[in-house]
Amino acid sequence: MLKKFLDTILFTEIGQGLKLTLRHMFMKKVTSQYPKEKLVLADGYRGFIAHRRYDDGVERCVGCDLCEAICPAKAIRVVSDIHPEIPDRRYAKEYTLDFTRCIFCGFCVVACPVNALSMTKEFAHSSFTRNGLIYSKEQMLALGDRAGADSDAYLKVRNMWEAENSGKDEGHYHFPPISLGG
């Protein structure tokens, strides 16, 4: 009876209730001040998909259409053709990725035989129009250029870097020289 009376006048229940809150006042802060502060994302983070280049700046994509074939959301469209400058090389004349449809499953990156695609840590792309989220190849290359080492890190952590470094000729699509004329 007395205990109940004391509890009532001393607000012990509130104290109990605030115990967790009060304890956290002295712990390290978890909330980050997005967008002023940015989180450190894991290397395997599946953000926006980017196109990659070789070290000499040549785009990697050979327009093989395998990403288009595997895409479960049918977000990718590839139109391949002969490269206008590098003779006898296949490339993607048009490459569009509709990020409104993309489900960020990463299948396309797995399918890519030349590691031309990778997922970046960028995730905050918004647009006022739907068309603004349909990315062309140039936009995706720019994404890749921005992502830099992040795109490599994704491939490494997802075990797709082997083809890059294996030294076997399967990984690199070098194209045989052509003999014209004669």
Binding site: D65, R90, F175, I178, G182
Partner: protein
């Protein structure tokens, strides 16, 4: 019969069968790379390994013949091991560049590796890194990907008989390509491309532009010539990416010629008409169907209200049966005129008229299977490999496989000449007298020629000894087939020559005996069908005669209307326009200004018309004069049925949406007739098909797939029996009519007119217009692919003459007649008759046509245009 067990299942097969066929009969399929049912087995890929249970050995299924009591295992672990090892060896040097290889996705090697191959190879070797052979504009040879199955070499040798590619080098260095590292120079049929199981041979026109899984496949019929090849049109987003075939599909069994395979770009070129055009203030301005049709119907109604026969109509021979049927019914019933004609009048009519009067049918009595089995094939004025490629293949096969005697009566060597037992040179225009001499010699029973006849034959350029050999072969042969083609049909005396030929064949009893007969090569895709549907003034549908009131009343009663008689063909139409009787001309894809000489004169005649309506794919000389130009749908955008030279009735399937606002001719006619208040009782083209098939049960769709063809899967199945469709003419009815025909007196032959306008001199030649293998009609000139292959018309001159004149290929010569002069590049070819030159008619433009006499002349009997052969003087330009 041999009894054996396959995987424990007993099966009886004839002796000499291979294990592959026996297993197929038992219902087990064995994988193959180098095997193709059309060719002799080679046994080079070693993937069809099977195990023999008793001897524990693996043998090759495609080349091993069955023996009594053999026990075959097709799926044992030993077999798997053998196939896997073979694949590892095949992949030893094969570059794994599937992502950039055009074959990726439809590659048997890829599929097989997927089903048998492990992920690792036990063998280590270098990958081949040879440069690709890009010398040819058509095909790319990539020797790295080649597994040396030899299919391409064999199909070029055994089926096409062209021998353009072969094995080069030996051992590991072996590659496939044109001999001596030269540029590929062949008929460009692309069959090697089709059979290649890897990406070793790829198509350069669509290189890197497609993936097989992205494309929609539509099976349709080619309309470029009368072969009636079935083909598969691959489209992506309503545009044609490529044309391929499927092994065993259609009467062509999977072969398509260069025009069919590569000539699809014309119909999707920018110059296609997209909207109806109306002439306003001397200019054609785009309009819509809703505006054009009422205007047009008012104008037509005003003209036909003045009486019968005020409108004339021309129809292209590429129209399907349905459109041709609607065309003639519209002309006769709605426009009340019998002035109608088709492209067949340019030459084929010379054969069709005598043939129908003698046999009552346009359908052939023989087909390609009979040609292959024939003892004797006489080709009269035709180049089968060029005019109807698949007929050419059948003839080549008959000679190669069955040692048929081939006689070629032609002015020059054509592509099958080298297989001929005898090439009989015959100057153009002498066909009728030649055939009469042949007929008389055959019926006289003597085995020698009088000196008078010898002199006559010599005069026509014919070698009398060769002639005698032909006579004795015709006498001894059991299965004789005569083949006629463009040169025969278009010669000045073609009508008489056709009469003579039919009489000769009738007298020899060739219409009566099974396996013998006449095989006519029409020029366009549906010449036979258009005529059967009555798109000519002589015939109503079903080849009933318009002039015969009894036969006319059949259709009059059926349509419940009165049909006009009289009328006429192209000759009468031009006459009627000139006299002012005909006030309007409707042309469905026929441009007389392109093929008639004296275009200025014809233009003057046509300018008298009140109304010219042209329905076509492209703008042309006649469309420039027209008051209404209507965009027509191409053969890739419509439904309908075509009758092939073999008599098959095969469907067209729309592979892409109509170009712009284009409509098929049949739909235009249906809408126009409804607009004119006289609707035809059909609401769609399908309804017309149903009506045609109801009235003519023998025109129901028919085709012949190879026995091993198995529908849509594209797999080869070796044991499906083939059903014989009723595509041939009935021999009984033909025979009964032939007896009447033979009782008639032979048709008189006018003496051949020899051009005398140019004084015969050293450089004087007879010039004929020929068909090029790389083009069909004039529309293919708008096709970028075919123009890459052949982009310029060369005057073919005898090589010995060019050598004498010191002229090389491409040198310009001046070609002149008394009417005009033009300079043309030459192409010296061997095997031409001394005084003959020829020029591909596709490239005969208005300037070229000025060489011809200023007056259009016609054959008196058939109304077909004559004078298509002229004397020219060819001189080098100094």
């Amino acid at each position: 019969m041999v009894k054996l067990t396959v995987n424990g299942k007993e099966v009886d097969v004839p002796a000499g069968t291979t294990i592959l066929h026996a297993a197929s009969a038992a219902g087990f399929s064995i994988p193959t790379f180098c095997y193709n049912p059309r060719m002799d087995p080679a046994g080079s890929c070693r993937i069809c390994a099977v195990e023999l249970e008793d001897s524990k050995r693996t043998v090759m299924g495609c080349i091993t013949q069955v023996t009594e009591g053999m026990k075959v295992l097709t799926e044992s672990s030993k077999v798997h091991e053998a196939r896997k090892t073979n694949l590892e060896l095949l992949l030893l040097h094969h570059p794994l560049d599937c992502p950039v290889c055009d074959c990726g996705g439809e590659c048997p090697l890829q599929n097989m590796s997927f089903s048998y191959g492990g992920t690792d190879s036990r063998f280590e070797s270098h990958r081949n890194d040879e440069p690709e052979d890009m010398k040819s504009e058509v095909l790319v040879f990539n020797s790295n990907r080649c597994i040396l199955c030899g299919k391409c070499v064999r199909i070029c040798d055994e089926i096409q008989d062209v021998h353009a590619i072969g094995f080069i080098n030996r051992g590991f260095d072996t590659i496939i390509g044109p001999p001596l590292g030269k540029k590929l120079d062949c008929e460009f049929c692309g069959d090697c491309l089709e059979v290649c199981p890897t990406g070793a041979i790829t198509d350069r026109f669509v290189r890197y532009q497609f993936r097989p899984w992205q494309m929609e496949k539509t099976e349709t019929t080619c309309t470029s010539c009368s072969s009636g090849c079935r083909m598969v049109v691959d489209t992506e987003n309503e545009s044609i990416v490529r044309i391929s075939s499927r092994e065993g599909l259609g009467p062509n069994e999977g072969s398509i010629c260069v025009v069919g395979r590569f000539g699809f770009n014309g119909v999707q070129s920018k110059s296609r008409l997209e909207a109806p055009h109306v002439k306003k203030a001397q200019r054609l301005v785009p309009s819509t169907w809703d505006e054009v049709l009422p205007e047009l119907s008012t104008k037509l109604s005003a003209i036909i209200s003045r009486g019968e026969g005020r409108v004339a109509g021309l129809a292209s021979s590429r129209l399907p049966l349905e459109d041709a049927f609607l065309f003639q019914r519209f002309m006769r019933q709605v426009l009340k005129t019998n002035f109608l004609d088709s492209e067949a009048r340019q030459g084929f009519m010379n054969m069709a008229l005598p043939l129908v009067s003698a046999t009552g049918s346009l359908r052939p009595m023989v087909d390609h299977e009979d040609i292959v089995k024939a003892d004797l094939i006489v080709v009269l004025g035709a180049d089968p490999a060029v005019e109807s490629n698949i007929t050419g293949l059948a003839i080549k096969k008959a000679v190669r496989k069955n040692r048929a005697a081939l006689y070629l009566v032609h002015g020059r060597d054509v592509s099958i000449s080298s297989r001929a037992r005898e090439v009989i040179r015959l100057a153009p225009g002498y066909e009728a007298v030649f055939l009469r001499t042949l007929r008389e010699t055959l019926s006289s029973g003597t085995n020698d020629l009088s000196s008078e006849v010898r002199v006559r034959l010599d005069g026509w350029g014919v070698n009398p000894d060769a002639f005698l050999r032909l006579v004795s072969d015709v006498k001894s042969s059991k299965r004789t087939i005569f083949v006629t083609g463009r040169r025969f049909h278009r010669s000045d005396a073609a009508f008489e020559a056709s009469h003579e030929l039919i009489r000769l064949m009738g007298e020899r009893g060739l219409f009566a005996s099974e396996g013998s007969g006449l095989f006519v090569l029409p020029e366009s895709g549906n010449d036979l069908g258009v005529l059967m549907m009555g798109a000519s003034f002589e015939w109503l549908p079903g080849l009933l005669e318009t002039k015969n009131s009894e036969q006319r009343s059949v259709w009059e009663n059926h349509w419940n209307t009165k049909l006009p008689s009289g009328g006429g063909g192209l000759r009468e139409i031009l006459g009627g326009i000139e006299s002012g009787e005909i006030r309007a001309l409707i042309s469905f894809g026929v441009d007389p200004l392109r093929f008639l000489p004296d275009s200025a004169g014809v233009r003057k005649i046509l300018s008298k018309l009140e109304l010219i309506v042209v329905a076509d794919l492209f703008q042309g000389p006649l469309a420039d004069m027209a008051h209404y130009v209507l965009p027509a749908a191409s053969s890739f955008e419509r439904t309908g049925h075509m009758v092939s030279a073999e008599g098959f009735v095969q469907p067209l399937a729309p592979a892409m949406a109509p170009w712009g606002n284009a409509l098929s001719e049949g739909n235009m006619i249906l809408r126009l007739a409804a607009q004119m208040g006289c609707p035809l009782p059909f609401d769609s083209i399908e309804a017309v098909s149903a009506e045609i098939f109801r009235i003519f049960p023998d025109l129901r769709p028919s085709t012949r797939n190879a026995s091993y063809f198995q529908g849509k899967t594209g797999e080869i199945l070796l044991s499906i029996p083939r059903s014989q469709p009723p595509h041939k003419a009935e021999r009984e009815s033909v025979n009964s009519r032939m007896t009447d025909f033979l009782k008639q007196t032979p048709h008189p032959i006018a003496a051949p007119v020899v051009g005398d306008e140019v004084t015969k001199g050293e450089n004087t030649f007879v010039m004929t217009l020929s068909k090029s293998i790389n083009h069909a009609g004039t529309q293919t000139l708008l096709d970028s692919n075919l123009m890459t292959i052949e982009g310029e018309g060369f005057l073919r001159v005898p090589r010995q003459w060019a050598r004498k004149m010191k002229l090389k290929k491409g040198a310009c010569v001046s070609v002149s007649t008394s009417h005009g002069r033009i300079s043309l590049p030459i192409d010296p070819v061997s095997g031409m008759a001394e005084g003959e030159v020829h020029f591909p008619f596709h490239f005969a433009d208005a300037r070229f046509m000025e060489l011809f006499p200023g007056k259009v002349s016609f054959n008196a009997h058939s109304g077909a245009q004559s004078g298509q052969t002229i004397d020219v003087k060819v001189e080098p330009i100094a």
